[in-house]
Amino acid sequence: MTQEIIVIGAGMASGRTLEHLFDAGADVNVTLFNAEPRGNYNRIMLSPVLAGDKTYEEIVTHDADWYEANGVTCRFGERVASVDRAAKTVTAENGDVLPYDKLIFGTGSNPFMIPLPGHDLDGVIAYRDLEDTELMMSMGPQNKVVVIGGGLLGLEAAAGMAARGVEVTVVHIMGHLMERQLDETAGYLLRKALVDKGITVLCQANSKEILGQDGKVCALLLDDGTELPCDLLVMAVGIRPNVALAQDAGLAVGKGIHVDDQMVTSDKDILAVGECVEHNGAIFGLVAPLYDQAKVAAQTILGDEAAFVQKELSTKLKVTGCDLFSAGDFADGEGREDIVFRDPGRGVYRRLVIEDNVVVGTVMYGDTADSNWFFGLIRDKTDIADMRDTVIFGPAYQGGAPVDPLAAVAALPRDAEICGCNGICKGTIVDAIEGGATDLTAVRAVTKASGSCGTCTGLVEQVLAVTLGDDFVLPGAQPICGCTDMTHEDVRRMIKSQELKSMAAVWQECAWKTVDGCHVCRPALNYYLIADWPLEYLDDPQSRFINERKHANIQKDGTFSVVPRMWGGITTPDELRAIADAADKYDVPTVKVTGGQRIDLLGVKGEDLPSIWADLNDAGMVSGHAYSKGLRTVKTCVGTDHCRFGTQDSTGLGIKLEKALWGSWTPHKLKLGVSGCPRNCAEATCKDIGIVCVDSGFQIGIGGAAGMDVREVERLIDVETEEETIIAIKAMTQLYRENAKYLDRIYKWMNKVGLEWIRERIADPAERATLATRFDLSQTVYQKDPWAEHAQKKAAIYRPVANLSLEAAE
């Protein structure tokens, strides 16, 4: 007997189900409803259509001839209004009532639209069907488009339009692109590739409101106040199974339409396939499981035994020419280890997650040629103990002799370019080495290889090793930590020359050996990125030592000390009262006067920090940064105000300097002193920067210390006015923070670069002025009171996240 089959929705899954039915010669009579005014097409090929690589006609999977040949009654552009399960009929929009023996839901999914103010404006669209695609194709070089969502769909929309010359900005709420498929480093590489295509990518960006003019979209407003003008706004933030009709029909529905292993819903005569279903708690967006479902559904209708099984999934994607692959579970976890391979030169990143000698997950970027082999290792749970050392290099390296990384360099021809910046070939370097340049510095001096951006330093060293053989001694320079072979200086050079503006960028381009660094390198990198890219890089509190993360000094019992700023060591009775009140209110056990002319409240409980800061803020005081690698204090004497020997207003100058410099981050702590005369009561000559006032002006010295080393400053420059002093010291501070190694005080750095080098820069008026300007620029971001910010916005993180003492007592 011929079965009457009604299909709701002409998508990829339902189309495939029909193919299976007809191929099996099923005795069926099919009516196909589709809300879109067309038949089945390959929805995942919309991106090539958008990019102009394919036409709509090329992505149609079933044409009119096919429907006709198989006797399918097409009702395209028509919705189904309701389903009467008792009578086994569906009612079409126009009132037609059609009986069915089997009903198939293939209603797919709806794009999720964030209900931002303005989301219903003209020109705000999703990326779901041909109409959306055609609207995007109508954009050209004169247009600006904003895409909300840095997942696969959003990026394909962005890339497709960018290929048409459209000015595209992608706004993504998470820290890196495609965070569900990729880890941070792969996300960084993808972002870099998109930026190279002219796409602007904003991560950690929160959309606030869509702005319109005359009912049409004109811009997207972010919550930091940024306004992104646009002619079209594409929201590609996710999809939700379309369950409305199924729900109305009284079928069991969760996230999607519930189906069993046979793709049958809670009604035995109704099946569901595709993105609208929920199977064992999972919903589906990739095409492979949808095709599996289609096959099972067809077999169920045919009366054959079949069961849908969820399989281990991998994602192999090509986002606009960037090869990506991820599979399995690549989260860190108990007993898991990572093997990381990075080839900065080729932009390749490969990470394997290993558990009990089995690969459980992988993320690959840039070179995914071996992805099937790695996926096989995951799927088959292959024991990799025997190939552990070489597994990361892929199948070509298995079963042979262990790989010698130098062999590749040895095999390079003489004309292979090693240093791209200076166009230096391997032969030139080998000749230099044979001519007596037997270490890196000498090779650099003779050939200039690796002397510019420094990316090829490792390669040059390998050429040295290959050429010299046993005579080669690795340079004595210490790498930052076990995560890298690079020195602080190498990494700083890379950050500047390669414009590395995120932690993930540094890890990748400098070939970090760990996934996310360690407690030694992360604070250093965070500092370097802040110092070199104050506007672009966002400070990462989680890469800071606790004192800088919580803006207070941790003590040996886990309590903290709190030191409010006293500008130039000057205070008032009101400030002192407020400090005394705070000490009483928070049971501060110790109140001490510091060497930096201010007051330290020791023994404050971590939970009390935001409240005590709020109290001190109310009295007009701000953080003294007594915990920071940054400006600490400017110590002063009373100068001409009161002292009979004073030559200048040293207190006033000290206050001006402190107001100019506070809040700035430096490689190590920075202490200043201003003495009003050479009697030096402010001990200015043992500060990092010390000013001694004389009748004729101001003597500025640098490189003093009174810690583990005790040193007197060396005279940097003499100037005549306060204004010149302030500019010179801003310039000096900027030079120090742009060039010194993290945790080098000025005197240590000065020993490396020489006082002369520093003086040449500060004495040159033009260079001094640009340094001071860069300092001021950075201060626009970082000169703010962290106490006020934390007390007002982040107080919650100082409290326990939960209190279980009551539960435990029950």
Partner: protein, 111 residues
């Protein structure tokens, strides 16, 4: 028997960070790694009882803020040349919520 109790949203703990959970027998530090895995450990370094919750989290380890001892979040074992172990407790993430096993915490307070 395990008795999972909902502690907080995963977003209450910063990535590569930690927060304290108070229990009757002292504080437990709940860590979140870059890969969004959570771990619960006693909030005290075996060296000088430094508050591990304030340490820098890297990979699946934390560095004590007082003297830089590195402790595995998975096993509680001190890494490198130092020796010692911190008690660990079952913790997991489900549907964006962080869950701790109260039976373990109670056993801890009874011990």
């Amino acid at each position: 028997m395990t008795d999972w109790i909902d502690i907080a949203s995963i977003d209450d703990i910063p990535q590569r960070g930690a927060r304290v959970v108070k229990t009757r027998a002292g504080c437990v530090a709940v860590f979140r790694t870059a890969a969004d895995e959570v771990f619960a450990l006693d909030n005290a370094c075996p060296h000088k009882q430094g508050p591990l919750v304030e340490g820098i989290v890297h990979g699946s380890a934390v560095t004590c803020p007082l003297h830089n001892w590195v402790i595995s979040l998975e096993t509680g074992l001190v890494q490198g040349n130092d020796e010692g172990q911190v008690a660990t407790y079952p913790a997991r993430v489900e549907g964006g919520r962080v869950l701790l096993d109260t039976t373990f915490l109670q056993a801890r307070s009874a011990a």
